[in-house]
Symmetry: C2
Subunit: 366 residues, 2 copies
Amino acid sequence: MESTTTQTLHVDLGDRSYPIYIGTDLLGQAELYQRHIPGQQVMVVSNETVAPLYLEQVLTALNGFQTASIILPDGEKFKTLAIWNHIFDALLNKHFDRRCTILALGGGVIGDMAGFAAAAYQRGVHFIQVPTTLLAQVDSSVGGKTGLNHALGKNMIGAFYQPRCVIADTNTLNTLDDRQLVAGLSEVIKYGLITDAAFFIWLEQNLDNLLNRDISALSYAIQCSCQNKAQIVAADELETGQRALLNLGHTFGHAIETGMGYGEWLHGEGVGAGICMAASLSQKAGWLTKGEKKRIIALIEHAGLPTEPPAQLNPARFKELMSVDKKVLDGNLRLILLQGIGKSLVTDNFKHDDLTATLNEYGNAN
Amino acid sequence: MESTTTQTLHVDLGDRSYPIYIGTDLLGQAELYQRHIPGQQVMVVSNETVAPLYLEQVLTALNGFQTASIILPDGEKFKTLAIWNHIFDALLNKHFDRRCTILALGGGVIGDMAGFAAAAYQRGVHFIQVPTTLLAQVDSSVGGKTGLNHALGKNMIGAFYQPRCVIADTNTLNTLDDRQLVAGLSEVIKYGLITDAAFFIWLEQNLDNLLNRDISALSYAIQCSCQNKAQIVAADELETGQRALLNLGHTFGHAIETGMGYGEWLHGEGVGAGICMAASLSQKAGWLTKGEKKRIIALIEHAGLPTEPPAQLNPARFKELMSVDKKVLDGNLRLILLQGIGKSLVTDNFKHDDLTATLNEYGNAN
């Protein structure tokens, strides 16, 4: 399994359809950008970690456009309204108009902030995603979810806003630190669990190759993940139904991220522990066998992800944090639970006692 | 011309179509709200001026829903990201979910902020406009433009987001102060100028009735304005073309508002002076006769609106402020100009010297 060809997937959303390019050496391909930038002005939004590595390469490839860049501080704790406003400062100082394009060069935080800025600047300008972390390449850059955190809840302020294309250059994974690589694996494992049992089995067999940064294995995992996501998003862009499956482990995970303070736990780490908690609750509900639960937790653990929430968050605090989840409807908490490996559902039809028992398994019972 | 019946107009936008109700005693009509609120939770967003007058009446009519309210400070200078965040504080503190409705009770500032909050909260919740100023009833509550100001430009951060209905209770105009009433007239006059010559003539004949708050005259003016706006918005929701006509006088007006500090000049006052400047430039371009220009300025003046920009803004500063206008494309300033009364166009085809001469007419030539 070795290839340096570029794979192109498509997110099918009518007149908002767009391609996802996955391959090596994409960042410097001027033609790729030219194909998807309709105007003259391009604002690159990046962060202090990524910009020194890749900004120059991207700006060189954008030669011929009127370019500018804004470098934000790195980390989830900066995904705030106040930092978001820096993007508008830059756009207005440069007199960027309605035909401009905002290009996100970075991980999930940069993609979320730049995407929401593109949705809101002059009520909407063009947007391109250039994800540079595994998590962003397999998940957050695809599907149009953009947003910011609020002190009381993660991703509570945002928009559905689709990019014109996603350019996932796997070379950028070479500079990703181990903790970030591992964090991205939780979203990869998620796809296997919610809909794609064959991919889950492949992951069980190939996880070491991913951890060793085998480029073929990583490319395959990114393609499988994006293919799964593109299908789900195409069927339910605005998450009125099945798209919520993509949130497996996320209600628990978001509670951890918010409760610990944004950035203490990486998003993917929260999701890793959250998947284990969802598996545990699914098993208590009688939908998942003990053997399946064990396989899930073993894979999360093997990836180097946390399998338990932090001890500081007791069950009462957990429930409070989970109560502002976007999937709560009319006061009812809804969760993504598993009915097997590769089979999931969105439901409020679980016993509250089982949830309490799941939280108590880990909580310090304060 | 006397009537206490409710008039219902429609904004035709496919599955985002909605009614505009115009009449007396609408605020307390529980049935109106019930018809357009699909969930259980309603957050009323109002300000310190309007809430003491009308909040209780609205909350009483919303009896049966789970209601809460957030009272913002009153004025254009508070249309900022920081104040906007207070709406999310309130929503999250009350655990409002994705099925909630945000109801704007106030003038244009409240409508813009609450509407953009509805667009962004959990990536989109329901929204209802209850405009309580003339300006909001004739213009800003209809058509889905929402947004916030940035220090460098007005309405630069926002979304197109349509309400589920607009409830314009003309009783609320009884408590409007004279300055606010007059400010609303500039948008009324705008409709006559851009497309509706007959309405302009009606305004020339009936302006005193409007200034004397004759309820029949006001109702007629609101209906004509909303009818004109609904037609234009239905044809071009996202302002890719003709919708820009609604911005007659606004590029000049926004420059005044931003340059003087938000709130020093009311939006409608800026638009009043801006219409006179647009008329002056149109006459210089040879499209408008001197007689037509005089009639326009006379009507603006008779309404009690400013016909000239503030002396503090010199021509150079004016041009700098106008250069970040949302209608600028590829560096070219586009303006709405008049080719007669009731006939307008969006164009960058004017002589730069004529614009300079127009600004010099008023500027202190610093």
